[in-house]
Symmetry: C2
Subunit: 327 residues, 2 copies
């Protein structure tokens, strides 16, 4: 019911709507309306209430609450179910447990803080409370396990696009899974999957976006940035998050429905900070130094090795000369 009241207030933002009207429309008592409005005020919503006039929503807080996001996303696909936490060990871990218990494609897990936030290869991802986005999404794509890397670059394209749309900042993509501003990392993507040998059970798409964080731990301060640091003003986490989900939804279902990754690859090429650069590629115990020359229609990175040999790589840990990076 709180969600329904919020929905009506948002639709009538900056206008009064009477308690009576709300009561009739939603079929609950005016006392019940009053209680829920108070609860919303406690969450940070600025709501004016004047007797005879009713309630007026003046300002919405930048909170990532289930009600707020369900209303804003309005999707029966991505964001059809949303789990929000104040604190959690890792949104990817929680999403895995939900997926194991049968949660549907599009289920989203968000936390204000992660106590055990992870990047690739189990590395720590700095996840303090309140300023950033830590989100994981459950996907069940009908693709082969060796195609899972495509999900990562679809996410990278969506995030870079969204940051640009909401803030105007130029966000670059360091193939395959980092978003870069001013040569520093502003977002990382961690894609994990559960699979049989040639069938994916589910993919967990996790991301950490540094939105309004001011201070990073000393070890990563020179290689990490946030949208606020780059822009000079606070950025709405809610707006970034909603844009990312919507952009991703479009590119993801375009890929699933057509089998083509063209739209994503076009964005990744345009926004790449990797192409034309010398890169180090680390795969377990092997290190290759090569020039990144192209991204294929399947999202693979094409590199030219010292000896002139040209090969495609599907995934791997890539560092680009001149761009620092962590995790």
């Amino acid at each position: 019911m709180k969600k329904k009241i919020l929905e009506v207030l948002k639709k009538n933002k900056n206008n009064f709507i009477s308690g009576e009207q709300l009561s009739n429309q939603l079929g609950v008592t005016r006392t019940s309306i009053w209680k829920h409005v108070n609860a919303l005020k406690e969450e940070g919503y600025e709501i004016e209430s004047i007797s005879r006039k009713g309630y007026k929503l003046i300002k919405e807080p930048d909170i990532l609450s289930r009600d707020e996001l369900l209303i804003e996303l309005e999707s029966d696909r991505l964001g059809n179910d949303i789990h929000c936490f104040k604190t959690i060990d890792s949104t990817n871990n929680y999403a895995k447990k939900l997926a194991l218990d049968g949660a549907l494609e599009g289920t989203i897990v968000i936390s204000e803080e992660q106590t055990g936030g992870r990047g690739r290869l189990g590395r720590h991802w700095v996840s303090p409370a309140g300023d950033n986005i830590y989100m994981s999404m459950i996907l069940r794509p009908t693709i082969y396990p060796n195609e899972a890397a495509k999900i990562t670059i679809i996410a990278a394209a969506s995030i870079a696009n969204s940051i640009n749309k909401v803030t105007g900042l130029e966000a670059g993509i360091k193939w395959p899974n980092d978003i870069i501003i001013d040569n520093k990392k502003v977002c990382g993507i961690l894609t994990e999957m559960s699979a049989e040998l040639n069938n994916i059970n589910y993919v967990i798409l996790g991301m950490g976006v540094n939105v309004n964080i001011d201070k990073f731990p000393k070890e990563i301060d020179h290689i990490a940035t946030s949208l606020k640091k780059a822009l000079g003003t606070e950025v709405s986490r809610k707006e970034i998050l909603i844009n990312i989900v919507k952009e991703f939804e479009e590119l993801y279902y375009n890929f699933i429905n057509t089998g083509s990754l063209k739209k994503t690859v076009d964005i990744c090429k345009k926004k790449s900070v990797t192409l034309g650069k010398i890169v180090n590629i680390i795969n377990k115990n092997e290190i290759m130094i090569a020039e990144a020359i192209d991204i294929t229609e399947n999202g693979e990175l094409v590199i030219r090795k010292d000896n002139g040999e040209i090969i495609n790589i599907i995934s791997g840990e890539v560092s680009v000369r001149g761009i620092d990076s962590y995790v």
Copy 2:
């Protein structure tokens, strides 16, 4: 303590050991010994107790209990921890949850019955209580996700070898994941993994072995068999299970330590019911008909298509003409 008493009784099988000796050796009262011996009797152990002489283990039941298997496997690698259930939805699902919570390589999950037993692609695996083996093992191999198929064929080789050792029956391997006797399926393997793009978090190796089941549901009766049906007498589930774990342990660590799959491939070739046959290979919406001509050193199946083209396949759903199969 019960496990320790059982361990001593097993070491002295068919000989009396006095309550006093047990009490001294294990540092507990004779009353406590007596209570644990009674508990063992209730589990099905035949133990003679004569005053002044003590206790004598005469016969062990064919039960898959944690104590029994920990003693028999005596391993700090595979079987270092064992979870036994009377009934569970699926041993693979439970193993996944344990793995997610950090369970180590070698953890084993066994159930007398599965209420939601699964084969590949989520198909049902008939899992009635008491007669068969339903086992899942947690592995954390340092290999790439696209190598996970190797774990399946290592398991196939181990199971076929173990069945032969314990029963004398010729068990064939239908590449990559079925064990066949008399052209019918006696065991299926379900390998699942959790992975990042180029790093495996864990592999769950699941298997269902039809040991002493007499009757199958009508739908699969013509394509399924059990060791008992093939041999004509009951077979010890415990012996089969222990042999499988030990054989697998040897082949698996040989592969992990040397990087070579030769030992496994040699067994798979020798016991193959696929090579030289016409096979249908189904991969999602694609069906290929071809002759299976070899297995590579990496465990891939080499097939010759109608047009003469020779290709290697890593995994897929294979049916062999003349051999029925389910799941």
